[in-house]
């Protein structure tokens, strides 16, 4: 009986001296995991052009139908995005969104990703429908709005993708890793031997959000 009391008190004492687990939110915030799927981000190319081409594949792929896109034609003299088409309106209903990331998966230009932001509560329902202006990376200071690159490098995860040239888009990198797996080489077998003429979807040197 006494033994148990002493054991219990000892545990309590030990816990009193250890660092508390509680985080003083919102003054303090826990770091968000690398692949956290929070609020969406619409990205830009390094020259400031929007990546989004308004193709609406994200909306088509969305299982809950929370994305609304309206496209328009670019003025060649003053384009919003490379090519002919851009999104003149891009809205996501965050109340309806289930943060599954299918939109990012469907995106052919990797314009949309799910970012680290999770503080999405609001006092008004209307405010939870975010517009393009809110979703888009700011320009020209967009580099600051980006999350600092993960210590393991862009596109890193447990399958050895950190070894891949950061210039290669994550999607292509996946294919390469898969191809190597199938050919019996381990993911850490060294140089992946990406031929120089493989087209890179991303411009070299672009750091990427890969939440």
């Amino acid at each position: 009986m006494i033994k148990e009391i002493v054991q219990g008190m000892a545990f309590t004492l030990k816990q009193m001296l250890s660092r508390p687990l509680t985080v003083q939110y919102p003054e303090e915030q826990k770091p968000v995991p690398v692949r956290h799927r929070g609020r969406h981000i619409l990205h830009r190319y390094d020259n400031g052009l929007e990546r989004c081409i308004g193709c609406e594949l994200c909306a088509a792929n969305c299982p809950v139908g929370c994305i609304y896109v309206e496209a328009a034609e670019n003025d060649p003299a003053n384009p919003v995005s490379p090519g002919e088409r851009y999104a003149i309106r891009y809205e996501i209903n965050l109340m309806r969104c289930i943060y599954c990331g299918y939109c990012a998966e469907a995106c052919p230009t990797e314009a949309i990703t799910l970012g680290p932001q999770y503080e999405l509560a609001d006092y008004r329902r209307e405010h939870t429908v975010v517009t393009k202006a809110e979703l888009l990376e700011s320009w020209p200071h967009f580099a600051q709005s980006r999350r600092p690159p993960s210590p393991r490098g862009a596109g890193a995860d447990q399958t050895g993708r950190e070894e891949i040239d950061p210039g290669v888009s994550p999607r292509l990198a996946w294919d390469l890793v898969d191809a190597r797996r199938q050919s019996g080489q381990g993911p850490h077998a060294g140089d992946l031997g990406i031929p120089a003429d493989v087209p890179t979807v991303t411009e070299p040197g672009t750091t990427r959000d890969n939440a």
Partner: protein, 642 residues
């Protein structure tokens, strides 16, 4: 073919073929492609098109046919007795993969920004039959111009073009205008306009539809929507009385385009540009939205629909009580449905009791249903065709394509003459022809009758091009002075212009106007005076215009694409229209408004006026409409005409 089938069928001009182990008997001269379609076997095609002659250039439809050393194009090979066709073996699978791989070698694969993505044959067949990957060594593809405007309607992307020739053949075979040509050769071949000129055709809008990929696209539809998010409402083009079948495609409560809906008896899948690009007017926000009372000298106020209908009934009854039922003029419109017009006619004649009812301004004498005897599809059966004046083809442009088809397929002579051409000269010009069609505009009916009478020695049939999408229906429904529904004689009344003049002079004290009526608004000054002078102007209209502005009782109407109903085209074909947009107003639809109005005015046996119920009642009352059903022709026997 030497091989005979197990049991040779009777010699009925049909031959038996076996496709993928299933037998089918088809008429001689049928293409293998069509025989397969009959069996429900899908053969992918790019260059082949149901309305165009085969060229067999895309090689996508190659199939294995026994006893042929090489695979044969299904789109250009006619069936023969005992032919054994295979479309699903490894050989055919491989060659489809091969052709698709070739097609994609120089295709830009910009599906995400392509307007056709989602309804593109190249995309669909690549997913269904394609190889999945390309083995093309990554070198530069051949590049051409993108987003090249060919006219105010059409944009060309030469990179996406798979050179199926459909657009070139469309101009050669359907319109005969030859505006699009091929230039260069080999992989450098490109589609462009003749001499680099802008397209001038009235039928350009069909090009994006014949194009199997996204090379030719509508500029009006550019980046407006993706096909999968479009709501499709099968309806009828509201621009003219030809009655072309369309799909009104809308997104977010806006019509984004009119797409053709093939009806071989009417449009043969071709639309004119006037009709096809008329859709933006239906998206207008300028609408009558609330019922209003604007008593003369009183204050204007918004009311409920029920109040508005009672007020209308009160005003009309007051005029009838004071001045007699002949003091009410009723005006319908060629834009209304048959159901509305039928109710309007009954309301005017049976409930109010006025003979003054019309749907247009001009008098319409000696109306004879025989003047619509020549069906649109019958034009192809004629040896000679007489078109009086430019008006018929200006009014109903798609008629031109049918005339060209008759010329090209049958070798018919088409005589395009002045609208006052000498009947005896016409008669001598068409001498020798067995079947003759005479086509005239509504304003030229009398002369067309003289021409038809002058022609001897051949069966003559007439076609009159009416005005307004339901101009023919308005006549069938008896929205005419002196002729009740079904061309039964009725007490003679004033025609449209006379009604307005009588109202302006004070002879008529009340007007009931069912709009929108563009014909009425061309009346000008007399309309203004009539509306200002009448004691009561009850207007049911969807557009704020002269009539709606001068109404004493204004009841919002529903636009053409916001309601159910039927319309009758110039040859008497009764066709359904369906709502593509939600109504801009919460008031009941016109048929219900008219029924309530009739009930308020004392009619007892009218039901609530649901369009479907009205349609049933209408068909019970008019035998030709019962026979026509939905999509058939209402033909009136001559005896029924008074």
């Amino acid at each position: 073919m030497t091989q005979t089938p197990a049991a040779p069928g009777p010699d009925d001009g049909r031959v038996g073929v076996t496709i993928d182990g299933r037998e089918v008997r088809v008429p001689k001269g049928t293409l293998v492609l069509d025989a397969a379609t009959e069996l429900g076997i899908h053969i992918p095609i790019y260059c082949a098109h149901a309305k165009l002659d085969p060229v067999a250039v895309c090689r996508m439809c190659l199939v294995h046919i026994e006893k042929f050393p090489k695979p044969q194009p299904a789109c250009a090979t006619t069936v023969a007795e005992g032919m054994v066709v295979t479309t699903n073996n490894a050989e055919v699978t491989k060659l489809r993969e091969g052709v698709l791989e070739f097609l994609l070698v120089n295709h830009p694969l910009d599906c995400p920004v392509c307007d056709r993505g989602g309804e593109c044959d190249l995309q669909d067949f690549t997913f269904r039959y394609g190889p999945g990957t390309s083995r093309f060594p990554i070198t530069e593809k051949v590049h051409f111009a993108k987003a090249l405007p060919l006219s105010q309607h059409i944009e060309l992307d030469q990179e996406r073009c798979i050179l199926c020739w459909r657009c070139v053949r469309y101009y050669d075979e359907i319109t005969g205008e030859k505006e699009i040509v091929l230039q260069q050769r080999g992989v450098q071949t490109l589609v462009t306009t003749f001499n680099g000129e802008q397209l001038k055709s009235n039928f350009q809008g069909n090009l994006p539809e014949v194009c199997p990929v996204g090379a030719l696209t509508h500029r009006e539809y550019r980046f407006r929507a993706r096909p999968w998010e479009l709501q499709r409402a099968p309806s009828v083009c509201p621009e003219c009385s030809y009655g072309c079948n369309i799909n009104a495609d809308s997104r977010d409560f806006e019509i984004k385009r009119f797409a053709s809906r093939d009806n071989p008896l009417v449009d043969d899948m071709w639309l004119c540009d006037r009709g096809r690009y008329s859709f933006p007017q239906w998206n207008t926000s300028e609408r009558v939205r609330r019922p209003q009372l604007r008593p003369r000298g009183g204050e204007q106020r918004d009311v409920t629909a029920v109040e508005a209908i009672s007020a209308a009934a009160r005003e009309l009854r007051a005029v009838v009580d004071q001045h007699g039922s002949g003091a009410v003029g009723v005006l319908g419109s060629a834009l209304n449905t048959n159901e509305e017009l039928w109710l309007l006619g009954r309301l005017a004649r049976d409930v109010i009791g006025t003979p003054h009812i019309d749907h247009q301004l001009e008098p319409f004498e000696k109306l004879d249903p025989a003047e619509h005897a020549l069906g649109i599809a019958d034009i192809e059966e004629c040896d000679a065709l007489v078109v009086l004046g430019a008006e018929p083809e200006a009014e109903a442009p798609v008629l031109t394509l049918r005339l060209f088809k008759a010329e090209r397929k049958r070798g018919a002579r088409v005589h395009r003459l002045d609208h006052g051409a000498d009947p005896s000269r016409i008669a001598s010009a068409v001498r020798g022809a067995k079947t003759i069609g005479v086509i005239a505009d509504e304003t030229n009916r009398a002369h067309a009758a003289r021409v038809a009478a002058a022609i001897t020695g051949g069966a003559v049939r007439r076609l009159t091009v009416t005005r307004g999408v339901n101009g023919r229906g308005a006549k069938d429904m008896g929205v005419l002075p002196g002729l009740a529904a079904g061309y039964r004689s009725a007490p003679s009344g004033k025609h449209g212009r006379e009604i307005l003049e009588a109202a302006a002079s004070g002879a008529l004290r009340a007007l009931l106007i069912l709009g929108p009526n563009p014909a009425l608004e061309t009346a000008g000054d007399v309309l203004q005076r009539a509306l200002a002078r009448a004691d009561s102007v009850v207007v049911i209209d969807s557009r704020p215009g002269v009539c709606a502005g001068a109404a004493t009782v204004l009841i919002p109407g529903h636009a053409f694409f916001e309601k159910h109903g039927t319309v009758t085209n110039l040859e008497g074909r009764v066709q359904r229209i369906r709502p593509a947009l939600p109504p801009a107003t919460p008031t009941p639809t016109e048929t219900r408004v008219l029924s309530s109005l009739a009930a308020e005015l004392g009619a007892r046996d009218w039901d609530r006026g649901e369009p479907s119920a009205v349609n049933r009642a209408l068909r019970a009352a008019l035998a030709p409409y019962a026979a026509a059903g939905n999509g058939g022709r209402a033909t009136w026997v001559a005896e029924a005409v008074a």
